[in-house]
């Protein structure tokens, strides 16, 4: 029987990992994701979950441990935040290239300098080229669901890719919300046991994992992974559709639209601040502003087709950027360049600009969203955007 619990994002993640019956967990403490590992440690100690709980000596070690464990046929789980995510950078590509469906939880956190425990997406986003799936949860419920959905997708023989399952530090990882936790039987129906196939380390069928390749094979090696990403959207659709059916959810696989009927301006966002954005959209609508929300669920693979289809309906799109890409083409974050690329071939494109908000754990308030709506409204009136990036709350709302 499914039961309703009040859980923070970290606790919800732990529940999902327990129900996924993982074999090997590797921990290392760093705020704010640590709470998930603390929950799992207690579950292991009480015998609620049968898994090896390895105390890694650092984040690089965490990824190394799960690389080995996955190569030896185990379903694995690890996680980190902030500079921990970037410390492990060396190991992401080896895991993805070896096609090991490791799962890593990222409760995101601003990168040093200086020490800042607050949320920011830059830590995970800076790893988006490493060949892993990546997507954000808005609520503890979605965090719970995303863990199970990602195991299913990542372990699919057509995919075999590792997954970053992300949630905003503190806003999602620590603020409790309602989570419907299914029972084991439902989860078993959705998520089959990990079947690693023939490319694991087994003395009964010896293989050599990762010998050197020639330079003229390099392109082919990378092409393999690129092809896996091409096949990925279909597997995502199947998995999400199955998930909705078994657990009674209503997820859109790639982009979720909220109050977009007749909308002229929309907020485009990923992660926890979408929760505030929903309230802002409702209030704006009450005041006669034709606002809407489009929420991104996967940033890798970036659903270009679905984003273009969704956004081409509107007059102006404000991309909320909770990560930085210094010197990037938009001089702001990472999402606007991807959005504009997705919209490039669309006949009638909306105006697009971006808003740096929520960096370093800063709250993105309703006022910020009203301010963003003001800029977008003026842009629609003027028929153009004045610039590609605004720093919300720190400047005039000029179009």
């Amino acid at each position: 029987m499914a039961k309703e619990m009040t859980l923070s994002g970290c606790a919800a993640s732990a529940q999902a990992v327990k129900l996924a019956k993982v074999d090997v967990i590797c921990s290392y403490p760093i705020r704010p994701y640590t709470a998930a590992m603390m929950e799992l440690a207690k579950m292991v100690a009480d015998g609620e979950i049968d898994a090896e709980f390895i105390h890694g000596e650092g984040e690089h070690a965490q990824l190394s441990v799960v690389y080995g464990a996955s190569a030896a046929g185990a379903r694995t789980f690890t996680g980190s935040s902030g500079v921990g995510v970037t410390y492990a950078m060396e190991v992401y590509s080896p895991i993805s290239g070896a096609r090991l469906p490791v799962q890593m939880m990222i409760a995101d956190r601003a990168l040093d300098p200086p020490g800042d425990f607050g949320s920011e997406h830059t830590d995970a986003m800076s790893c988006r080229d490493q060949g892993w799936m990546m997507g954000w949860a808005e609520t503890p419920q979605e965090a719970f669901d995303n863990h199970l959905i990602n195991y299913r997708i990542g372990e699919d023989p057509r995919v075999m890719l590792p997954q970053f399952v992300c949630q905003d530090g503190y806003f999602v990882s620590h603020i409790p919300g309602k989570v419907i936790v299914p029972d084991q039987a439902q989860v078993d129906e959705f998520l089959p046991p990990f079947n690693p196939g023939k490319h694991i380390l087994d003395p009964k069928l010896p293989v050599s994992h990762g010998p050197q390749i020639r330079p003229d094979q390099g392109t082919i090696m990378d092409l393999q992974r690129a092809e896996a990403f091409l096949d990925l959207p279909q597997v995502i659709e199947e998995a999400v559709s199955d998930y909705n059916r078994i657990f009674g959810r209503n997820y859109s696989p790639f982009v979720e639209e909220f109050m977009t009927d007749g909308a002229e301006i929309v907020f485009f966002i990923q992660g926890g601040h979408a929760a505030t954005a929903r309230h802002a959209v409702r209030h704006l609508r009450e005041r006669g502003v034709k606002a809407g929300l489009v929420k991104l669920r996967f940033v890798r693979p970036f659903p270009s087709v679905q984003v273009a289809q969704a956004l081409s309906k509107f007059k102006a799109v404000g991309v909320i950027e909770t990560s930085t890409s210094y010197g990037g083409s938009m001089r702001g974050g990472n999402l606007l360049p991807e959005v504009r690329a997705a919209l490039y071939d669309v006949q009638s494109r909306p105006l697009t600009t971006s808003f740096m908000a929520g960096l370093g754990g800063d709250v993105v308030s309703l006022k910020d969203f009203y301010w963003i709506a003001e800029v977008l409204t003026r842009a629609v009136k003027a028929g153009r955007v004045a610039k590609t990036v605004y720093w919300a709350g720190l400047e005039e709302a000029t179009a």
């Binding site: 070896a98 010896p206 393999q224 092809e227």
Partner: protein, 108 residues
């Protein structure tokens, strides 16, 4: 969708089957300048050559009670000759032999 030439293909996840007995994709017999020559009359089957060859190119043939040399892989390092406990092993110039192997210009 893509035309990958067979010689450039890479197995899934870069995982290859383990070799059995030898690794024929890395033949090293064409490296050597010197070849070890054995006089079975003198050889006392001490097993030094079998044990000390880094490339496992000396093996004991238990039935025939003699050691056998692997021409396909021997790199001509001459460790066996140095470690031979008798005068059984000596070195000879590779190209003095009819089946002496000419070194390849480029290894791959």
């Amino acid at each position: 969708m893509f035309n990958v030439p067979r010689e450039r293909a890479v197995p899934f996840g870069c995982v290859t089957p383990a070799p059995v007995g030898e690794q024929p994709m890395m033949i090293t017999g064409n490296w050597r300048e010197w070849r070890p020559v054995i006089d079975h009359e003198i050889c006392n089957l001490c097993m030094n050559c079998v044990v000390f060859c880094p490339d496992a190119c000396w093996q004991l043939n238990a039935e025939e009670d003699e050691v056998v040399w692997n021409a396909k892989y021997c790199k001509g390092c001459r460790v066996c000759i140095t470690e031979c406990s008798t005068e059984a092993l000596t070195k000879a110039y590779e190209l003095d032999f009819d089946d002496g192997v000419v070194r390849l210009e480029k290894p791959f």
